[in-house]
Subunit: 493 residues, 2 copies
């Protein structure tokens, strides 16, 4: 595929357009023929695979196992938990028939009216209902608990306004569904997985996040408590990046899942669920990238280092090839993914721009003069700085540089968030500040009514009630009523 | 979950029931509330994950990349390729609506009649159509070729008679879809992937397979040529375990995908597709397992070695724990997955039976007397043989034993296949022999009519025209017409 290097909108001009351009031009994804559904292209998918692998390792290290539950959910299951159906009914893809037949007029195929399902099936928007219906048969005694299952799956929510990765009708995700004997253990699990998500975001994605609790308005449909990690994008808007829910006994009650506890009494099972999705790709792209294209954290970059030879003729190329081969091998032995791009159908300048667009963290360029001098040119994608260093020991240099880049882009994002976070005490200040974007720490009286009023008047929502940081009580900026602590407001994706 | 160790039907009594029992009792999968769809339980999914990881590595080593295409396919896309729609229309799950609403009578939710889709969407039974509609925009010149994409996905075919893993409405699979500039290159790709599948089946699953070409009757809907690997189960029935299709220019024509070739002429693109699914789990289970439960090949066993301590009191257990810890560590360092089961709520005898049922290849048991003697008891699952060996060097002993087991179960399956394979020359012999099960090598005149007649009269189909082996021509056993070579007949799953 020919790569169009021109025409990436600048962030300052139109941040939203810059994002859309970048997703397409960096070959991450594209719109499909099906409304609201995207095609995740190989380069985008390679990043998602690295995320998956790392998250999966972290889930397994915390005692979880993977399983797989059906794509389709009987309509009646959704209705069992009142809040849950309320939250998802309006965006369900509904399967009503199980067969097509030839159109008698010869014009193709039509739905066979005789193949109508007795009960319609819903493409899972999330799997609590089908999973708890299954757990009913798995759980009898406290000895069967806890159950710590995760599944990697596609889900479907018929969203009206979609944006690639950020909000699509079909998306890929993982959903953990755990069952516990006690309330305390379930709460602990919900918080544990929130911490796994926060660790992943910060250490691998290099995206700083605020851990917190959602207000009642923003809670998952069917949860008693929703924990969230909230990230700030470069435009100052918040992106909810992962959630972990304490579901209490709601789904156990809806599906009649009881167990005999150690005291030999029947009790409903306690539940959590937690998920992150391909939305994380959106967070990754929007946090670090710039007007030249993607900036990828080394820990998740499919190609961490690209080496481009600069040569005048095939003879010189052969010399460069043989000089580069051992470098590639040594880097690979260090666990670093390297691409040596000696393709002869593109000029070095074109390659440079392409790998910049694709966010490859480190670019090495080696030419005839370098061979004479025993040097090599190193470009780091995060700062676009170039320097010429000794060829000897380049592998260690690169390994260290990758860690420097990882740390640097995290620090840069952290600094940006700090600059875009303000504390305000009055609603007037708030209304002024929210127009500038960013996170606003303000006091709130804890009521859904006040939150709703703020949202209507300013388009800002409570992103979370932070778990860490300042816990000083105060007075609600809107009503003057008591507030337990400042909460985080922002406009959001 | 309490494990029911009793009640596994014996193979000789009822092979089919034995299989169904085993899938459930070994905790691999269970029927879900949705007709024809199964829940893949954690232990079953762990085996599938090992298969996936290995196959994915093999795909990448042969130059393929992963991507993701939409779950839903516009109905009109299916109609574009005539054979394809003919093959899949009768088993399509059809999405007709995108919203539920509260039933005015308060009885739950109903499909909102106002949310009817203009064009119905089909849950993918396979993705050729949506992918070739996408490739149209990716391919302009020979420089854009080849495209070597794979996707791991769920697909849906509304099967009337389902069996867990072997034939389910929803199943998990991978589907490779490649695009090429020449017929030769596409043919080469189709054969290459057939060989990857055969290697995987033989080296990892320890399942011997016959590589061959399908007859026209058994070809994939839309393919010009279908390559297959065919395995023989213990009951002598064949199981098609993986297919690779040369699609010619059929889908390129249906979706108008042309490219400018090196001679600067517009030409249709050449295609392949290839897939294996969770059906491989069925092949794995049915090839090796016995009346005591699963027998897993070491290369795919989630737990390769289990160590069970035999102790009289907690003091003795503590001694065993400390003696086992370094063995576990050394085995793990050798890349061997080990479970040390010192749980005190189950007796050793129960554990032994459970791990036999689960097919763990090697069981080590260590008791007080072993400590005194410097020995350990080793049980290999394939033959159920026990022996007592020196504790010193047990890690190397186990590593070698795992390879022995892998080789042994392959040889056992190969021997079984040889014993159950016969050559016949007359249709009378054929009809007699087919009742005994197994593969029959016989001459066939190459016509669909003769194949159809044989199928109707004997329930046997042509599994494949083998690529290797005897190529001597002869005369069709039914019509006496010329035959190019013997083909493989069998009854099949």
């Amino acid at each position: 595929m020919a790569i169009e290097l021109k025409g990436l909108t600048k962030r300052a001009e139109n941040y939203s357009q810059w994002y859309n351009d970048l997703v397409v031009k960096a070959d991450l994804a594209e719109q499909s023929a099906v409304r609201g559904c995207m095609v995740i292209k190989p380069y985008g998918y390679a990043i998602w695979e690295k995320m998956q692998r790392q998250l999966d390792d972290m889930f397994k290290a915390t005692g979880h196992v993977n399983a797989y539950f059906p794509l389709l959910i009987p309509k009646s299951f959704l209705s069992r938990e009142a809040d849950h159906v309320e939250g998802f009914a309006k965006e369900c893809a509904v399967v009503t028939h199980y067969r097509l037949k030839n159109n008698p007029d010869g014009s193709g195929v039509v739905v066979d009216p005789e193949a109508r399902l007795e009960e319609e099936l819903i493409i899972r928007p999330t799997s609590e209902t089908i999973i708890w219906n299954t757990y009913k048969n798995w759980i009898h005694s406290y000895r069967d608990l806890p159950i710590l299952c995760n599944q990697w799956a596609n889900v479907f929510r018929w969203e009206m306004r979609t944006r690639m990765f950020l909000r699509t009708a079909e998306f890929l995700w993982q959903e953990g569904h755990t069952a516990h004997a006690t309330r305390e253990e379930a709460m602990e699990e919900a918080v544990k997985m929130l911490n796994v998500y926060a660790d992943f975001a910060e250490k691998y994605m290099a995206v700083p996040v605020i851990k917190g609790v959602k207000s009642a308005n923003e809670r998952f449909a069917g949860a008693l408590e929703t924990y969230t990690i909230e990230a700030m994008m470069q435009d100052g808007k918040a992106l909810q990046s992962g959630t972990s829910h304490f579901l209490g006994q709601n789904f156990a009650k809806a599906f009649d899942v009881k167990f005999i506890n150690k005291e030999n009494q029947l009790e409903y099972v306690w539940a959590t669920s937690w998920g992150v999705s391909t939305r994380l790709m959106g967070a990754l792209i929007m946090t670090h990238s710039d007007d030249n294209g993607l900036v990828l954290p080394p820990h998740l970059a499919p190609i961490q280092v690209v080496i481009v030879p600069i040569y005048k003729n095939n003879e010189q190329l052969a010399v460069l090839d043989s000089r580069v081969a051992p470098i590639v091998e040594r880097l690979r032995n260090m666990g670093i993914s390297v691409k040596y791009d000696n393709a002869d159908n593109r000029r070095p300048g074109f390659k440079f721009a392409d790998y910049e667009l694709k966010g490859v963290p480190v670019r090495l360029a080696l030419g005839g003069r370098d061979l004479e001098n025993g040097t090599i040119e190193v470009m780091r994608r995060d700062t676009l700085e170039k320097e010429t260093v000794a060829l000897e020991g380049i592998e260690e240099y690169v390994a260290k540089l990758l860690e420097d880049i990882q740390a640097n882009i995290y620090q840069k994002a952290l600094k940006h968030r700090a600059e875009m976070t303000t504390s305000v005490d009055t609603y007037e200040e708030f209304k002024e500040q929210i127009e500038k974007g960013g996170f606003i720490l303000a006091h709130w009286d804890g009521t859904p009514e006040t939150e709703e009023k703020i949202k209507e008047e300013t388009k800002a929502t409570i992103r979370c009630i932070p778990l860490d940081g300042d816990k000083t009580p105060g007075k609600c900026m809107v009503t003057g009523k008591p507030s337990a602590q400042r909460v985080v407001f922002a406009r959001n994706y």
